[in-house]
């Protein structure tokens, strides 16, 4: 007999249930939550808003999933977002920090996009280099960039909030394609490409193997150090893209607040999605995880609770999910049950 659900689908079941629970709560307690309107050929509504606002988190979650599966973690994503946003704003308005209001020549979109993304990738590769080749614990290697990175971002903007206008650049964060907000399309594209790269080639298997047992993977002939470094580079790229979206959406670069505390959201999403720190990963799970986090934030904020307080809820969610996944706890509970029966 065929099992009702494949093993992979089973892992998605609980995150999906959690997401449905949050949506159901809103169905009853938030007016007009499920209404989607079409204005000027664009989709609007709370659900679209959750997808749109969640785009940066979903992007960095994709990178974080792969890093987490190799047994690492990337704390620097928020800071890299700030750096890439600061860079693109600075490229659009190079004279702003000197106090000149005029724009000068319009910078081409290609440069505004490619330089921040390139720098983000390099920063990610630096993390990977520290982790894979120098052997620093991932948490500390990326912590360096997490704090020093904000310093770099502030250095780029000279501590100012650079505001700008740039028609084609703004499209990335706030434009619509086929009526759908462009960030959502970017997320779908990147998820699809990552899925192709990891699941339709052996790269995904390599990453899981490295996470499960680096030494055995090395003996099998996988280039462990190179793969790890590239994963961090990819995470840097995702963070850079997320930074560009945020920066282009609010038409400003804020080195202090761009991507602040977002590393927690990404880690939470990855854990909720069922990815193991060093082992199997699930891209779909992570995306659902990110949606849960975003839906929860939106729900809490619409209840009138200050957004900063959402941190407490997120912290509890992570610890609860981690407890559910803890094999040690499960074993202890089973032990207790057995004793109880006797």
């Amino acid at each position: 007999m065929k099992p009702l659900l494949k093993n992979a689908d089973k892992n998605l079941l609980y995150p999906l249930l959690a997401l449905s629970a949050i949506l159901l709560f809103n169905l009853f307690f938030t007016d007009g939550f499920f209404s989607i309107q079409i204005k000027n050929g664009h989709l609007f509504g709370s659900l679209i808003d959750i997808l749109n606002r969640g785009a940066p988190v979903m992007l960095i979650t994709i990178g974080m999933t792969l890093v987490y599966a190799t047994g690492g973690v990337d704390l620097s994503v928020g800071a890299i977002m700030a750096i890439s946003g600061a860079l693109s704003a600075q490229l659009i308005r190079p004279d702003y920090i000197k106090g000149i209001i005029e724009y000068g020549n319009t910078t081409s979109l290609f440069i505004v996009l490619s330089i921040p993304l390139l720098i983000s990738i390099i920063l990610g590769l630096w993390n990977g280099f520290l982790v894979a080749f120098i052997g620093v614990q991932p948490i500390i290697a990326t912590l360096i960039l997490m704090t020093a990175g904000r310093g770099i971002a502030q250095l780029i903007t000279h501590g100012l909030i650079i505001v700008f206008e740039h028609e084609s650049f703004q499209f990335i964060g706030s434009g619509f394609l086929f009526g759908i907000p462009f960030p959502i399309i970017l997320v779908i594209l990147l998820t699809f490409i990552t899925w192709l790269l990891t699941r339709k080639t052996s790269i995904g298997l390599f990453i899981e193997a490295i996470g499960a047992n680096p030494l055995a993977s090395h003996y099998m002939g996988i280039k462990v150090k190179m793969m790890k470094t590239l994963t961090y580079g990819f995470s840097g790229f995702c963070a850079g893209l997320a930074g560009i979206i945020v920066c282009s959406d609010i038409q400003a670069a804020d080195a202090n607040n761009a991507g602040l505390f977002l590393e927690l959201d990404a880690i939470a999403s990855v854990i909720i999605g069922g990815t193991i720190n060093g082992g199997r990963f699930s891209l779909a799970g992570s995306i659902i995880g990110a949606l849960i986090i975003q839906a929860l934030s939106t729900t809490i904020i619409t209840r009138g609770i200050p957004p900063q307080v959402v941190l407490v809820f997120k912290a509890f969610i992570i610890i609860i999910v981690a407890l559910i996944q803890s094999e040690k706890l499960r074993a202890q509970l089973k032990d207790l049950l057995k004793r109880g029966r006797k």
């Binding site: 360096i144 020093a148 250095l155 505390f261 900063q308 307080v309 912290a315």
Partner: protein, 326 residues
């Protein structure tokens, strides 16, 4: 007897050398840098970082990590400021509540790490955001401290001649360092910390109380964080929920620069003290320079910690090669 440079001393000596180089360079570059006042200020401005770094040294030697320190400083600050402003509790009781909440916080994290085998980075990361979130729950804005006892405490000082004085918070800092050294060097607990960091499995097989020690280490660290938070609120006379963002890196940097091995098993609190003073010197030089912004501090610390990690790595691989050649 010939003095031999052994593996253990190289990082510590490098640290001392770096300190002397930066200090002498500062003394030559800026007028008034080489004065007792500037030197004592190092102990005042970095008192709270230093106290936390003592706790972090224990954590890192045991092979763990604690990312929650910065947020917990903010939490203690906001908690104490609010209790003083909005309740009629005695200031002494407020201090005890803060220290106890630190102990409880650390105990919970240590228990999750040890008994449920959750990775330390995950647990303390959650702790980091939880403490930050809770500070926001208590207050979204900065709360000033106007309590008389606190004001008095912040003005107590030992007066040396020529108007130079060592204030209360610097004294607490120095006492914490001394107690930390004694605890790590001369007690069973201290030796257990080294043993766990060296090899947890061996420590367990030797019959050492690994679980108890690990939980105690995190409890001690968070209690010291609470103390650091109180010292910080004495220093600024306010509680601010965004205080201490990025403090984790400063503290970890001080410990690593001080010669403590990130992988655990080796390290000194004396080194951490010098590490703190180096960070303080960098800050002082940036202030003396005048035209450099404060964010340079973060970048310098990032560069410095990277360099020291590379040095540690170089030393440990060299040692490995030597052993193989033997």
């Amino acid at each position: 007897m010939k003095f031999k440079l052994n593996q253990k001393n190289i990082p510590l000596l490098t640290t001392l050398l770096v300190f002397i180089i930066i200090y002498v360079a500062g003394a030559f570059m800026y007028r008034g840098f080489f004065s007792p006042r500037v030197f004592i200020n190092l102990f005042i401005d970095n008192a709270f970082v230093g106290i936390i770094a003592v706790g972090m040294t224990f954590v890192i030697i045991s092979g763990g990590i604690d990312l929650s320190v910065g947020s917990f400083v903010a939490f203690t600050g906001v908690l104490s400021a609010n209790l003083l402003a909005n309740t009629s509790l005695d200031p002494v009781v407020v201090i005890i509540i803060c220290l106890l909440s630190g102990a409880l916080f650390g105990f919970s994290m240590g228990s999750l790490i040890h008994f449920l085998e959750l990775p330390p980075f995950l647990v303390t990361l959650v702790g980091m955001f939880l403490a930050r979130g809770l500070s926001f729950v208590i207050s979204l804005d900065s709360v000033p401290i106007r309590d008389e006892t606190f004001l008095k405490l912040s003005s107590i000082a030992i007066h040396l001649n020529k108007g130079i004085k060592i204030p209360f918070i610097a004294i607490i800092f120095i006492c914490t360092v001394i107690l930390g050294v004694l605890l790590l060097r001369y007690t069973r607990f201290g030796r257990n910390v080294y043993a766990i960091g060296g090899n947890e499995k061996s420590a367990l097989l030797m019959g050492l109380p690994v679980g108890k020690t690990k939980v105690l280490i995190y409890t001690l660290n968070s209690t010291l964080c609470a103390l650091g938070g109180l010292v910080y609120s004495l220093y600024t006379l306010a509680g601010y929920p965004l205080a201490g963002t990025g403090l984790e890196l400063d503290v970890i940097a001080a410990v690593v620069i001080g010669g403590t091995l990130l992988t655990g098993g080796m390290g000194f609190i004396e080194g951490t003290l010098i590490g703190i003073l180096i960070l303080g010197l960098i800050q002082t030089i940036i202030t003396f320079q005048g035209n450099l912004s404060t964010w340079w501090t973060k970048i310098f610390i990032g560069v410095l910690i990277s360099l020291f990690i590379l040095l540690q790595r170089y030393l440990s691989t060299r040692n490995l090669n030597k052993n193989i050649q033997k």
